[in-house]
Amino acid sequence: MTERFFAEKSYRQLLKNMIEVENLSKTFKVYHHRKGFFGSFVNLFSRKHRIVQAVDNVSFSIKRGEVVGYLGPNGAGKSTTIKMLTGILVPTSGRVSVNGYIPHRQRKENAKHIGVVFGQRSHLWFDLPVQESFELLQRIYRIPQTQYDQNVEMFDALLDIGAFFQTPVRQLSLGQRMRADLAAALLHNPEVLFLDEPTIGLDVVAKARIRQFIQQINAERQVTVVLTTHDLDDVEKLCKRVILIDKARLCFDGELAALRRLLSTERILSVDYAETYSDISIPKAHVTYREGNRVQYRFAPEEVSTADLIGAILQKFKIVDISVQEPDIEELIKTVYEDNTALEQKFTETDTLDLTNRNT
């Protein structure tokens, strides 16, 4: 029995990819309700429906220990994907595997190895104190006492859950509730952590605390983290890699830096000149702003490299300070959502990014 357990365990650890998703699709039937008294009667027997494609042929894989941001606008299919990875929803087609398990077929096995936090809703028992919720989880997941004690001690140190350990969940503040939920999701030492909007509605301090905790858990325990969020600060602080989904389809998968490079067609160069010059024009750069000795240029990295540009300036003028700014990531992602075609064109031009299974 134990041998089999260890064999099983080492097999799982050999899996290079923690999560594999291949051509995953999910459609929902949305029913149309007839109006009027007679209509509602007809509804009982026959209902018209339309098919909504929530996730459309999405593929990606995530390695053990990675922290990945799964991003997209509202209704893009983020939560639906997470729900298929956690075994809540059954995929319409395609293949999913988490830690070697197929979530919707081996739901209970899969559940033992994953932790899930929904930002919108607590997964703890509403009317029980936090401690009793934790003890219930200990029973449900059959967590050994030593492991339970160690974890509670550690989470208390990192998240200060001791401050509200005896308080019923319904009386917790949003930040406290989120801390309790996070700790609860990690009690059974899961190998993957799914976080759906973990910082929604929290203040700056609470957000920072939660990010730090996620970072630490990832570093110390090699927990794989999949994070959906609207807060791009979360992404910048936590994720090296992002997966972008829009209108049910995957539209980017790669490093955050690559996304930034890809999307920033233009950069801004700010220069503080030592003296006032009348002609400040530089070839291949446009002046966008001028006030006193401070000037901003806009340039395209493909046309002229930053180094050449700075060289050209230094040849002609004396400067006090110079800096290159990249556009804000929030701005970037907004442009992706607004202008999907621009990104698609980019994909055809560059081969540096792994573009997985565009809808062919």
């Binding site: 929902f28 039937k29 209704g75 939560s79 729900k83 956690t86 929803l89 809703r121 449900i140 059959r142």
Partner: protein
């Protein structure tokens, strides 16, 4: 064993939280009991005027009434999780159930325990006891065993009805109220001997929704009315197992329904 211990732990927590509002609990207990006392009081009033109902005396009907009342009260007490499943789905709580390493049926079943149904239970049980004392039933081991199996099976039947109602929530939450016809309506109609109902009505509540197997057929056997009723004695022996069969089928329906769960707000 793990499941049983877990279930008992859940029940303990539920009872404790319901006892927290002691006054309203006691009040509820009494109002529960008073409603069902009035129910039977009205039956007694009718017997006072009409003397008998299709060959059944007041306390024979009381026996019927007590049996179904006990089954329904226990089913409401322990099957509450399925009874209120509608709200649970709308709140999105079923997502949480699916991320736990336990069966969905077990989790919904252990989610709630409505202690205040003790009021209804004890009222039905007392009527059953009084009926017994008024009727001089010749009890034997077989009969006692038969009664116990029937009560458990009848409870299973009502839980099965709750499960059907709950499962229908995977498609639409609005249609669930129709199940009230069979639960509350069933308890009401089960309080009278089935021989007063029309043929199609009787057949429906025997073969499709086996309500007659909860208390009518068992009472025929226990009160030794099988011969006069024209029901086959073979059927009367099978009756106490209908509830188990019914529940098993609804569990399969439940499992199938879970696969169609669409969650909320994708």
């Amino acid at each position: 064993m793990h499941h049983l211990a877990l279930y008992l732990h859940f029940v303990k927590l539920r009872i404790r939280s319901q006892m927290a509002y002691r006054l309203s609990f006691v009040f509820d207990l009494f109002s529960q009991a008073s409603i069902s006392v009035i129910d039977f009081f009205m039956i007694a009033l009718l017997f006072n005027r009409f003397k008998e109902l299709a060959g059944w005396s007041l306390w024979e009907v009381g026996f019927l009434y007590g049996m179904i009342g006990v089954c329904f009260a226990v089913a409401e007490m322990i099957g509450r999780g399925f009874d209120v499943f509608q709200n649970s789905v709308m709140r999105g709580d079923f997502d949480t159930i699916l991320i736990r390493p336990l069966g969905t049926f077990f989790q919904v079943f252990s989610q709630d325990f409505l202690l205040r149904r003790v009021g209804r239970f004890s009222q039905a049980f007392i009527i059953l006891l009084i009926a017994n004392s008024q009727l001089t039933i010749s009890w034997s081991f077989v009969k006692v065993g038969y009664l116990l199996v029937s009560l458990v099976s009848g409870t299973c039947f009502f839980i099965g009805l709750f499960v059907i109602g709950a499962t229908s929530c995977f498609w639409t939450v609005q249609s669930i109220e129709i199940i009230n016809i069979f639960t509350h309506g069933g308890t009401f109609m089960g309080g009278y001997p089935f021989s007063i109902y029309r043929c199609w009505f009787r057949h429906f509540f025997t073969f499709i929704v086996p309500l007659a197997c909860v208390n009518y057929f068992p009472s025929l056997f226990l009160l030794e009315k099988v011969a006069s009723s024209g029901v086959s004695s073979f059927g009367v022996y099978l009756a106490p197992f209908a509830g188990f069969l019914f529940l098993s089928i609804t569990v399969l329906f439940w499992r199938w329904g879970v696969l169609h769960y669409q969650s909320t707000g994708h």
